[in-house]
Symmetry: C2
Subunit: 195 residues, 2 copies
Amino acid sequence: MNVDLILSSISQHVRLSPSETDLFTSVLESRTVYKKDYLIKSGEICRHDYFVNKGCLKVCYANEKGIECVTKFAIENWWVVDIDSFLNTTPSFFYYQAVEDTELLQISKANYHLLIEQIPAIQKFIIKRWQHSFIMLQHRFIQSNSLTAEEKYSQFKKKYPGLEQRISLRLTASYLGITPEFLSVLRKRETNSFS
Amino acid sequence: MNVDLILSSISQHVRLSPSETDLFTSVLESRTVYKKDYLIKSGEICRHDYFVNKGCLKVCYANEKGIECVTKFAIENWWVVDIDSFLNTTPSFFYYQAVEDTELLQISKANYHLLIEQIPAIQKFIIKRWQHSFIMLQHRFIQSNSLTAEEKYSQFKKKYPGLEQRISLRLTASYLGITPEFLSVLRKRETNSFS
């Protein structure tokens, strides 16, 4: 089980002692979700907090017309959880599906709370994580309401460097809330601006 | 300075010892913002975390056409902060304006971090608060993308009981992302369904 990336993700924000690091890594379990398989289906209970070691998940819901809406991608070094379902044991509104074969580390709910109880630095890390997640979601909310398609596309490329080359045009367009045809136009415009 | 409501807001989630309660209340400062005055203007740095003791604030931005978009209301018993600006000392994207004369309690950034350092229960409270805030914002994001105007209106009334009677039709409509005229139609439909 490769724990380098997850420990590096934490050490960017807080410092764990050797014994805290041992406790933290002892509760990690590895999990693989193959391309097109679901980590969590819509309506299921999310029972773990996840960290992506390798690969990519899409977080989606089906709108009233049954069309898939991509709200988020989770790539290497990202934490991902349906926090509402996880904390409140309610059915997940979203589904979490692998876009590539994806290697995860997972922490059960009992262990999530145990880590918060036992390791003060993890408490601080969790505070930073949720404050940051809130800020990111707020940016997304503002973007979807106020930015032009060009601006959203530019933000997407900053947020997920290189992801565009790994996923389909349709998925990127869905995340941006535009049609694949319009995304093609944007890409061509961008190419032409360099020619 | 009335600290009953803020202590009750915290005690619903965590327990503070008498000495922790003393430390917590010692850092609170009271502040009043009169109707139509700004707590934070767009572009200003948010330097405090706030709790509403009495009154109502609207949290807004001006869209590309210069039209006010209401993203949130903060009423009695609500915490409110521009977390991005507060943590990162960046200009606030939103503005925070009093809809009624509003009595607040405020905590400076230094004291916010001091409380987190000194009181483990406050760390836990802050985790719960930001997880909850994330869930609420996620609901709002989903609602704005997938619910009908009727459903959004129904959710608004559940989230802010009684607020509709305190604020203008225009503000409620802006929060819902519909025109005041359409909100009038929704209200009439509702009235007719009881007649």
